[in-house]
Symmetry: C2
């Protein structure tokens, strides 16, 4: 009963460098292409959108990139985040498996997203940026960038996917409390938004459309830069502090995970936990199972095509090679807005192609069942996105039980669900259904993928 | 820039005992009286409501009471809570003062309340209790007892003050996620509730009425016990782990607070931080200023009478000597539901009468201004109740600036405001007003205080 459950590090143990998995991969990820010329982009092509330091991180090949001290200083507010042994859940499942979770909900915005929002805001500040635009689905990223903007006195405008904007007034209020401006997307403020509204005035919006709006504003205004909360290499890089801390915490615990699990939309919380462990393996360490969990309604790794595609709906972003459902694919509405994206981050797609990780798709209701089971055992109500990782961890623990194996499972609890209780209300009211995409629409979107000679 | 901001303890440093200030006070607090006979109550009088272990804690005189190991085991999920130096806020205020806050929002329910909910549920479980009733104003206590009930498999019914029930569906959803049943109070389920509805069908409810309902159900059903989230001695006792941890953390920081601040409704988060420091003083240590911050709309310490009064509206509870606005006083509606109570905990009232602490009343708008300023500087959005402590801490830091004094200020950030963003929405929309009680109603309520010969 009284065995240790929480493995904490003191703030001197916040990682001093980000870990860049590119340095350890057997082959580099495919290059990014210019949307017009379809030739490889150079750093200068990205300058309208990002400060040069972030562009250099995007294409970096060195293993370790130093975290600036002012960024670590802000991380001290909530990092290192705890690694917690879910002993009550283990007991409830009557499994011989040991279940640990890394809890990122302790950040001010309630998720892992500030791990990248803070350095992005800081590098922008150093480059003289006064205004940032971004998009948000669930609201986790938007509120994190709003928080980071307030610390560095940068104006932040967030294009929030309409169905999220309407369903989650509290998320919007959080962004406004941090001083950001929130706009329902598609909006009438941009060409991309007006085009989307013209095509379908009743659209629930999508991350793809919201990205188009935010990118458009930055591209057209020299004093505005853009920030993205997932997908890109530098975001994956920033999140690797999660896995680096977890490795130290497992040493403290005298344990070592056999299975590593995280939900994956664009892939950043997944990469954050998984890449440092994969790095150990790539440098000669033992092999672990690493599972990316997707929503069945938007399964880019499991059902998408590995191909060059745009990151947004209006085709303003560079072309990235990734697992994609097609940039014209509008995922059906479901309660994990952070996982409602047509593509998967290029680095995550690349390690999937290399056979280093597995993918699994889960249905919505089964995820909420797992979320409630977890909340009643461990006290923390997971964000809808994070329930995908919980579902998979419970399923793996039950497999261990069936097989009589005492494996060690570690999952990333990427955020709490305090702003998502509307989804839990629907779940308890029996109003939640398992949402599926239209196979014809998916086929159509995949048929519209851009032709790229380089492939 | 890079000086330490967060003082963490490892889980072995969770206090092993609760601290009972009664052992160190120059005089004992006045005894509690039976509501019928108006004679001192004995332990057996309280048995219909509470398990004997909690009753013994209520009247305990020893300084240290051991925390059961299974309770400490659950505390490990989030304790010790961090002590954080608010360096960005200091800089923003340009004050020579040092500002620290103890952050209790890291608990699964988002406030300090689980510190008492968990031991109350545990002692009930040991005594064989299968069902618990309670009341909740802001929802912090109700969700904490729901959480604790889920851990020990106890059915929990929460009478939630109607205006809170209507305004905060997410709080209700959180309680239901933990498996509790939530009832809008006044309800038709109890005599007390029906009487209140008969008197005023449109009543917003009050903690006093909700307590009556929960107590009535426990008193009438032998298999049901009652749990209270503040006011009583054993609740103050449970919360003292906050101040005990803070004392150790100030040793780590090489600092020592000159001013200690917490908001006070029933008084439990205030007592939790303040009593261990007062204990040092009572045992010969130095004197510190200790400030209890109340809402101007419900200022029991500042404007109430120190007299015997009931804890509830229907007069089912014992009579306690406390600073009270009168048990028939219905506080006006404002956004800090946790501070909307007619009385102050007897132990807090007693130390106020002994001159050991100060009281200060703050207006609602000024509190939200402070809350937003704090959120933009330190990232954490405070619960409306906690903004009262933030307001006072900022005012003290500005006083230090005016006086050129480098004092050390410590306040209790008792909870986060993620479930209270509706209040922030009103604040930003300019819809928030400073609420005042009706002086005539207060005078009437005070004139109706029960006559007690013992006074």
């Amino acid at each position: 009963m009284s065995a240790q459950v929480k493995y904490t590090l003191d703030e001197t143990q916040i990682p001093k460098d980000w870990y860049n998995i590119v340095a350890d991969l057997p082959s580099p990820p495919p290059t990014v292409l210019h949307p017009g010329t379809k030739q490889p982009v150079g750093p200068s092509d990205l300058e309208p959108l990002f400060p040069m330091e972030l562009i250099l991180q995007e294409v970096a090949t060195e293993r370790a990139i130093e975290i600036p001290e002012p960024v670590r200083d802000i991380f001290r507010l909530w990092r290192p985040s705890p690694l917690i042994r879910a002993r009550r859940l283990e007991k409830l499942l009557d499994t011989p498996a040991k279940i640990y979770f890394k809890y990122e909900g302790v950040s001010p915005a309630g998720s892992h997203k500030p791990n990248s929002a803070v350095p992005q805001a800081w590098f922008n500040k150093q480059a003289g940026t006064k205004k940032l635009t971004t998009e948000t689905g669930a609201g986790q990223w938007g509120s994190s960038l709003a928080f980071a903007g307030s610390l560095f006195d940068i104006d932040v405008t967030v294009y929030q996917v309409r169905c999220s904007y309407d369903q989650k007034p509290y998320r919007r209020a959080l962004m406004e409390t941090y001083g950001a401006r929130c706009v329902s997307s598609p909006s009438t403020e941009t060409e991309s938004g007006r085009a989307a509204l013209k095509e379908n005035p009743d659209t629930p919006g999508s991350l793809g459309i919201a990205i188009s709006e935010a990118v458009e504003v930055a591209a057209k205004n020299p004093d505005v830069k853009y920030a993205l909360g997932s997908v890109l290499n530098h975001v994956m890089l920033h999140q690797t502090i999660i896995g680096q801390e977890a490795i130290k915490q497992f040493e403290l615990a005298g344990d070592d995970p056999d299975v590593i699990i995280a939900c994956a939309g664009g892939g950043s919380n997944f990469a954050g936990l998984a890449f440092p462990f994969l790095g150990l393996q790539l440098r000669g360490g033992r092999k672990r199972r690493v599972i990316a969990v997707e929503p069945a309604a938007c399964p880019s790794l499991s059902r998408g095509k590995y191909a060059y595609d745009y990151g947004d709906t209006a085709h303003l972003t560079p072309l990235m090679k990734m697992h994609t459902l097609g940039s014209t694919f509008i995922p059906p509405g479901f309660h994990s807005g952070g996982l409602r994206y047509h593509g998967m981050g290029p680095l995550v797609s690349h390690v999937y192609e290399l056979g280093l990780i597995e993918a699994r798709a889960c249905e919505q209701i089964a995820c909420f069942e797992a979320g409630v089971q977890f909340a009643r055992a461990e006290g923390i109500v997971p964000a809808p996105e994070s329930t995908h990782a919980v579902r998979c961890a419970i399923d793996e623990a039950l497999r261990c039980k069936a097989e009589g194996k005492a494996e060690t499972i570690c999952f990333n609890l990427s955020g709490h669900g305090h702003f998502d209780m509307g989804a839990y209300i629907n779940y308890f009211a029996g109003k939640l259904v398992d949402v599926h995409y239209d196979a014809g629409e998916l086929a159509m979107a995949l048929s519209l993928l851009p032709a790229v000679a380089a492939e």
